[in-house]
């Protein structure tokens, strides 16, 4: 255990935790906005997969990482339009619709990968960007201020989401239609438009999450996300539908994963119980959800389609 408590290992663990947390944070923040408007999207993982593939394909074709991120954002927006039309205008059951989006994303990204790429080929990864002065700080400089722009974006979006939800008219409308859409409607708030916009933002964030994942790894393969989108949905509950809470959940998930990997690498966790230890992040999340479930309540209109009739 002494090997773990060295500066270099602790700093590397913190850096790994932040890398691991980045795609979860982006996806969960977007889902938070959607859920605060009353729309559950279980298709996050599918949107991430599609965005990740198209970002990867863009880098493979052009070598341009930022164009790849933009393409992923656009894919997220397109999927957002589809999901919004299905759930807001056609008032389809959100759970089933989301699973449909997930299955589509899983299958279509797989199909496209086979048709257009075939064998995995490495692409350039996002470079680290050192923030002047801060990057040189002892202990915290490397994990916090020598990261990729996508990571800075993810963590920067947390306070922006707080402001969006709590300090703007749009945010007030989002919360209103998520709690009591009939009342919001009677006050002249367009429930459809508000939910449509919230879904679009949520899916755009999911698109960025897919881009963050694939550009951090520099590779794509079928089902790259391995269910990250579903964990992101769980993190929204974990964070009690609040951006800071969601960030805490994503970081906790990243820290536990990174610590378990370091302990395995150092031999602190014996190989014989390695698989058991790998379940720690999931067990922790479920445990926290059980504890939190009694203290917080979901948006009252979550999963409920709105209709004037």
């Amino acid at each position: 255990m002494d090997d773990f408590f060295t500066t270099s290992v602790l700093v590397a663990t913190a850096a790994a935790a932040i890398r691991l947390a980045t795609p979860y944070l982006l996806a969960a923040l977007g889902e938070t906005i959607g859920q605060r408007s009353g729309v559950l999207n279980l298709g996050v993982d599918g949107v991430m997969l599609l965005s990740a593939f198209f970002a990867y394909w863009t880098v493979l074709s052009t070598g341009n990482l930022w164009l790849a991120a933009l393409v992923a954002l656009l894919v997220g927006l397109i999927m957002g339009v589809i999901y919004a039309v299905i759930t807001v205008f056609f008032e389809a059951t959100q759970g089933i619709s989301g699973i449909g989006i997930f299955i589509f994303g899983l299958g279509f990204s797989d199909l496209m990968f086979r048709q257009q790429v075939g064998t995995p080929k490495p692409v350039p990864r996002l470079p680290s960007v050192n923030i002047p002065f801060l990057a040189d700080l002892p202990y915290v400089g490397e994990p916090l201020f020598q990261r990729s722009l996508m990571t800075y974006l993810a963590f920067g979006l947390v306070p922006l989401t707080v402001v969006l939800l709590n300090k703007t008219t749009f945010g007030l409308n989002v919360r209103a239609v998520g709690e009591n859409p009939q009342a919001a409607d009677s006050l002249g708030v367009s429930v459809e438009r508000t939910r449509f916009a919230a879904i679009m933002i949520g899916n755009a964030f999911a698109g960025l999450a897919g881009a963050a994942l694939v550009l951090q790894l520099g590779i794509f393969q079928p089902n790259l996300t391995q269910g990250m989108g579903f964990i992101a949905v769980a993190l929204v509950y974990f964070g009690a539908w609040r951006p800071w809470g969601v960030m805490g959940g994503a970081l906790l998930y990243g820290v536990v994963n990174a610590t378990v990997l370091q302990w395995k690498a150092l031999g602190i966790i014996p190989v014989s119980i390695s698989d058991l230890a790998g379940m720690a992040p999931a067990i922790l999340t479920i445990g926290a959800l059980i504890l939190l479930a009694r203290r917080v309540h979901a948006p009252a209109a979550l999963t409920k389609p709105f209709s004037r009739h």
């Binding site: 090997d3 270099s8 290992v9 590397a12 663990t13 790994a16 890398r19 691991l20 795609p23 797989d110 990968f113 086979r114 075939g118 064998t119 995995p120 080929k121 490495p122 990864r125 994942l213 951090q216 790894l217 520099g218 590779i219 393969q221 079928p222 089902n223 790259l224 391995q226 990250m228 994963n257 990174a258 990997l261 370091q262 395995k264 690498a265 150092l266 031999g267 190989v271 390695s274 698989d275 230890a277 790998g278 379940m279």
Partner: protein
Amino acid sequence: MKTKMRFTARLFAVLGAFALLATACGGDDDTPEAGGALTVAIVAPSASDDLAFTQSMVDAVNALDREITLSITDGTFIVEEAAAAIRGYAEDGINVVIAHGTQYGASLAEIAPDFPDTTFIWGTATDTQGLDNVFAYHPAADQGGYVNGVMAAAISTTGVIGVVGPIEAGDAVAYINGFVEGAEAGGATVNVTYTGSFGDVALAAEAAEAHITNNADVLTGSAQMVVGAVGVAVSNDVPWFGTQANQTSLAPNLVVASQVYHWEVVLEEMLALRDSGTKGGQAFELNMANGGLVIEFNDGYSLPADVKAAAEAAIAEKSAG
């Protein structure tokens, strides 16, 4: 009525002609002639171009020296989906169904007895579960692991080597155990991380990062998620040893060597047995002696001559049993 009768007569005539044609074209026995055309299906857990487990089998079937019509259902990590695909192929009359995954064993035990004319090939597994229409196969992956380990220890300057594995099972654990044995024989310290997943590329990448943090200057790993770990090796300019398929394309300057599975060696034996009327009941091992396991060196990596000589000596030792 007359018109209708004429139409009916024509219909029967056309159907009759088709029936005669089908009879003329079809055989009365689904066992083909020796070395003849075969329909083969592969059901496998990962992508057919994963540069690892599944691709090794697809490449092997394509390398067989006979006319094969190949169908593939890949990405079936969920056993129930795989079972449906296996049964579906058998119902469709496919001659040989390859269930390429240890986890498919229980499903095969249920399905195989229902299709006695179909040959099922299952692995990695060391026995056929007593089924006489099932051939089993497994690679002695520890052999190539040992050779890779010998080389890794020789080129490591820190004396620390990192291994990224999936779940402690199947040929992955055999490869890793062999690798550890070879590397430790060369005086290296080997740290092994099983990520707990065959597909989680992100975890594999972070596992590789953790090894590098802990002074590893050579890496290896097994299963399809290692593409993430190879990416980390490239970013840190760390040599990589591959297994299952040739992984040189992932890092042309850093992959030192790959242990490549040539399943076609045992598949040829199985199909020859099938030609002679034996539809299963035997288990086969892929090893260096029978040419099923081959160490493919990467010419793009300048391996010191003495290290290559040590590797070739280890290969000779393993080939001799």
